[in-house]
Symmetry: C2
Subunit: 225 residues, 2 copies
Amino acid sequence: MKKAIVLLSGGLDSATTLAIARSQDFRCYALSIDYGQRHHVELNAAQKIAQSLGSHNHQIIKIDLTTFGGSALTDQSIKVPTSGENPGIPVTYVPARNTIMLSLALAWAETLDCRDIFTGVNAVDYSGYPDCRAEYIQAFGIMANLATKASVEGKQLTIHAPLMLLSKQEIIHAGLALGVDYSLTVSCYQADEAGRACGVCDSCRIRKAGFKAANIPDPTAYKAN
Amino acid sequence: MKKAIVLLSGGLDSATTLAIARSQDFRCYALSIDYGQRHHVELNAAQKIAQSLGSHNHQIIKIDLTTFGGSALTDQSIKVPTSGENPGIPVTYVPARNTIMLSLALAWAETLDCRDIFTGVNAVDYSGYPDCRAEYIQAFGIMANLATKASVEGKQLTIHAPLMLLSKQEIIHAGLALGVDYSLTVSCYQADEAGRACGVCDSCRIRKAGFKAANIPDPTAYKAN
């Protein structure tokens, strides 16, 4: 059975990505990163999702990106925007986050002799993050195929981004067809300790709109106002 | 004054790289990674070097790569080879280490609005590590220039690898000319708590040969046999 590393944040997209990898007969090694994120409760969600979708293994690696800050998700003094979409890259962008996560996935892949990494990045219903674009993922793949012992031995590594060109609505339909329980997922940037969502941050807005467009009842638990 | 992130392991090469960056009038932000390395005493050396070479700031980021293992430096059950050079990539190779370190440097660079990263990788007197080659560094640079908010804003990031084509002997001469105190540096993969070197691991052998070729007295403190 082929192995795959699946980056699993605990949100809707990465849960769907894990289900897709499983449906392609990969033995999945889920990897979550505890980077000091404001919404660290997503890591509890990641554990439940890994279990419910039959991940073979799940590791949570700790790395404190609050040392660098520079994002509303890693610096408590920067407020999470809640007034809807604004032009430009939002303050919830975490510098180099996907590069760091994919690098850790690459390290684990090499120790497992695994040649497939899955990420839930998406360039359609996203928040304008530069490291969610197809050209970025492609460049990471080229770099990764020069970085490792495996690459020197001629073993090709593939970065799979199966959601790249899907709308949130399409992602939800794909996930439901594969048995994803979206009530387990946490997308909110400022979810409370119970995983309840604010409903008004960019991530909540995009998720809400996705369920609406998909014509599926939104299973998200929201905080009382 | 231009800012630069300088990856600083505590070894001979990265100390020289910091001195070179300083000589090019960069305000230097040294970055060391506590990744669970066997020779964690190199981090004490990094602190002394950062101070002695006038680094503006020095951060040590902790990330536990022993979770993945796969290297004699991150898995205590794998012995560090001491019998001299062997063909192929040695077991001291740490999967994706430079990719992880450069990714963290990229994150810090972005939060500081800094466009220069220095790494001491070297493709001449090295240990056959794939992530020390020029084509790898070039590919990382291309990826990094697609990964960040800065790149979307048209700000170009440069990965400097000033030692890439130098022999160890040339590195030592360059460092001495810039005032590097090599007695502060620790290269040994199994240095003891006082930073004393074994003298027989690959890293010690390459370093020793470098001082010999440079015709410079070796300032390394060795363990008693």
